[in-house]
């Protein structure tokens, strides 16, 4: 009786919004770990290089500790990434059934890079003591290279959903032929991949810098903390200006190739020229822009500076309502866009301050306020990243494969998704909280036990007087 009632309730629940929520939630979680996976290894290698080349013990300690943190964040990233490969099928079986032959191609290559990353990260993390310094350094390099190419491959698959090329369909819509190069190097791929890779360095750099900025504000202004901050911030300060250019180019690509998404981004209900750039605001029930702060003509000027305010931007009304984002989704895309551009600009100004200070004073900014803002940049950069990803994904709605398949036609018919969604949220919240607690616990222990830890010299004998491998190992284990 009870099970019957429950079954009826479960049957009445539409799986599509739950599938969408679960995918969005698990991806939003995973994407935070991506920058760390891609760029932290590079920062660690910078410190490692300095440590070997200049005999810098602070740098060496930094590299060694970072690699220990990386072991944790990489593990969390690896398992949350594995979940995604289950979810493609569990949540979107019809999408995978119809398009897997094309969508899967970039993942076949991503597999190579992920393998490389997993193998070398293990060698690097566990190789500190027994490998020769430069040999050990070089085992870290493939991690950095694989991280870049791995994320390019994944973004290529996502870009293909925006620009589905390289496939031939028969009259029933079945894929009959696939051109792998056409799939991987689709029109959206170069700029989207560049945008994500640079974002990984930008966000990763700011996350690391913000942790050390917080430490410095608490009075830990020793050389070690300063160096941690400088390495992180420098990486971010190189990536941020580059990202302004890449982001601008990508926006222009969307303007030319996905005008409906662009109309949602700029919140343009009707095709016109001299379109204002509305900061915030939303669409009312009649589909008109209300609220917000309009800057006259700016959206047109930014879309194509050569024609200025006379640039025409296609409106939402050019696309049938069923084939474009709903008004509510347009609000979300537009807000996310404002957040991304706004926060990105703020971070860019902060890096200008940084570069100006180095240019004129040959030192990092002295102001407490610089450190205070920097301590927030980790969180701000993550919000920027999530906002940018929201623009890309929600802006594509209602399509899962642009103009070829809608999200609602791709989802599983399994009505139990709401249960797995709740399970995933509980598990991931627990995972997120625990990850942060564990990282903090490690950091506290490193500080308290720094004397002990320094005895733990990398590249040195781990236990003086013991030379045989097996005994040495037991000494470590005990």
């Amino acid at each position: 009786m009870l099970t019957d009632t429950l079954a009826t309730v479960a049957l009445a629940i539409d799986p599509v919004p739950w599938a969408r929520s679960q995918m969005a939630f698990t991806l939003a979680f995973h994407i935070i770990l991506v920058p760390l996976g891609v760029s932290w290894s590079v920062m660690t290698l910078i410190a490692n290089y300095r440590g070997i080349k200049h005999g810098d013990q602070d740098a060496m300690l930094l590299a060694q500790r970072w690699s220990k943190y990386m072991a944790v964040t990489f593990a969390v990233g690896a398992v949350t990434g594995t979940v995604l490969s289950f979810e493609f099928g569990l949540l979107w079986p019809k999408f995978m059934g119809q398009w897997g032959a094309a969508f899967g191609v970039p993942f076949a290559f991503e597999g190579i890079f992920f393998f490389t990353e997993a193998v070398f990260i293990s060698i690097y993390i566990f190789g500190w003591r027994r490998l020769k310094p430069w040999t050990h350094f070089w085992t870290g390099v493939p991690i950095a290279v694989a991280g870049v190419f791995g994320s390019i491959s994944v973004v290529a698959a996502n870009a293909w959903m925006n620009s589905p090329q390289g496939v031939t369909l028969d009259s029933s819509g079945k894929v009959t032929d696939v051109d792998p190069m056409g799939v991987i190097f689709n029109n959206a791929m170069p700029l989207m991949a560049a945008h994500m890779v640079v974002a990984a360095y930008l966000v990763g750099g700011f996350i690391i810098a913000s942790v050390y900025a917080a430490g410095m504000l608490r009075g830990r202004t020793d050389r070690y903390h300063r160096m941690g901050f400088i390495i992180g911030f420098t990486v971010a300060a190189i990536a941020t200006p580059v990202q302004m250019g890449v982001g601008d180019a990508l926006a222009r690509w969307v303007y030319n190739d996905q005008p409906t998404k662009f109309a949602a981004i700029e919140m343009v209900p009707r095709t016109s020229s001299d379109v204002p750039e509305v900061l915030f605001g939303h669409l009312n029930s009649k589909g008109q822009v209300v609220g917000g702060l309009p800057i006259p003509g700016l959206a047109s000027i930014l879309s194509d500076p050569s024609t200025g305010t006379s640039t025409v931007i296609q409106g939402l009304d050019e696309t049938p309502a069923a084939d474009r984002p709903t008004d509510h989704q347009v609000d979300v895309v537009h807000l996310a866009w404002d957040l991304m551009v706004g926060l990105g600009t703020l971070l860019f100004l902060l890096t200008l301050w940084w570069w100006a200070s180095w240019l004129f004073r040959r030192d990092m900014p002295k102001s407490k306020w610089f450190l205070r803002i920097s301590a927030c940049t980790g969180v701000l950069a993550v919000i920027t990243l999530e906002a940018g990803w929201t623009v890309s994904e929600v802006g594509r709605q209602p399509w899962i494969v642009y103009e070829k398949m809608k999200v609602e036609d791709a989802a599983t018919a399994n009505t139990g998704i709401w249960i797995t969604f709740i399970g995933a949220v509980i598990l991931y919240v627990g995972l997120g909280v625990t990850t942060i607690l564990v990282l903090r616990m490690m950091s506290r222990r490193f500080r308290e036990g720094s004397r002990v830890d320094e005895a733990d010299v990398p590249y040195g004998p781990s236990d003086p007087g013991v030379s045989s491998g097996a005994e040495d190992d037991r000494a470590v284990l005990r």
Partner: protein, 340 residues
Amino acid sequence: MATAAAVVLFAAITTYAIFGGADFGAGFWDLVAGGSERGERPREVIDHSIAPVWEANHVWLIFIFVVLWTCFPEAYASITLTLFVPLTIAALGVVLRGAGFAFRKAVLRTRDRRNFGAAFAVSSVLVPYCLGAVVGGIASGRVPSGGKAGDPWDSWVNPTAVLGGVLAVCMTAYLAAFFLVRDAGRLSDESMVAYFRRRATAAAVAAGVVAVAGIFVLSNDAEYVFDGLTSRALPLVVLSLVCGLAALVLVARAARRGARLAAVGAVASLVVAWGVAQWDYLLPKTLTVAAAAAPSGTITAVLVATGLAAVLIVPAFVLLYVLDQKTLLPEESLPEASPR
């Protein structure tokens, strides 16, 4: 072309069964190692054994999925639609397991270690059970083709699926025990060598009993695979049996070499036997390999990627294992002065 892709798929499944299996099985022995004091030393050996390799071992699972959904998208859609429940549990288990293991290494307090260790160990049994049940559901022909969902419960709660799950857990424990005998030997810890040798013997007997019982289950519940196992895949079944017996004799006689290799051979030939037995079906009796295959452009791309992987990844893997086996990747433990 489709055949080549199917061979790649099965090679990946076999590799995962061995390396991922040994890794899951280490979690099984962690689970049954007893209280925090009694189980301390075995857990140290387990930690030491799998810490450098566990992430790389599980990339195989992702590779299997990628080959499956890229080369055989229809089969992937049918499998994920029908076997939704065990696959979801496996996915969540993968998270618990990896995170539990990584966190346990990073904390020092006994209470924390026990909690994370429990998450790691329990999911180490749960995940192979679910994956084994998925194999059983497929092998017994309960997954329909054409992107239709089969029965959400019967597809994995049936004799063959239960057999698949139990056999998977037995085989992981079996493999792991043989690997751990070797790893304990490398640490020159004779008491642990004896400890895992006893467990290897027990697991070998258990896996053998389940496998024999499985013959009767399959003959009633999965006829196509049963027919295959008793005809064209018979040499492989016999090979598996011979390897299994050899491993048992070698480990019981405390032979220095060969036992682990024989155990690997027993599991590998059994997995390959399954593949040969259900040939040329991907989903027995409903979907053949040829019918499920993606267009040739896709399969070429996957084969190229596989070739690149063979050139790039295999040497990297060999390097990792050689370094690990030469104990050049010692436990990079955290500062040890802190109180336990």
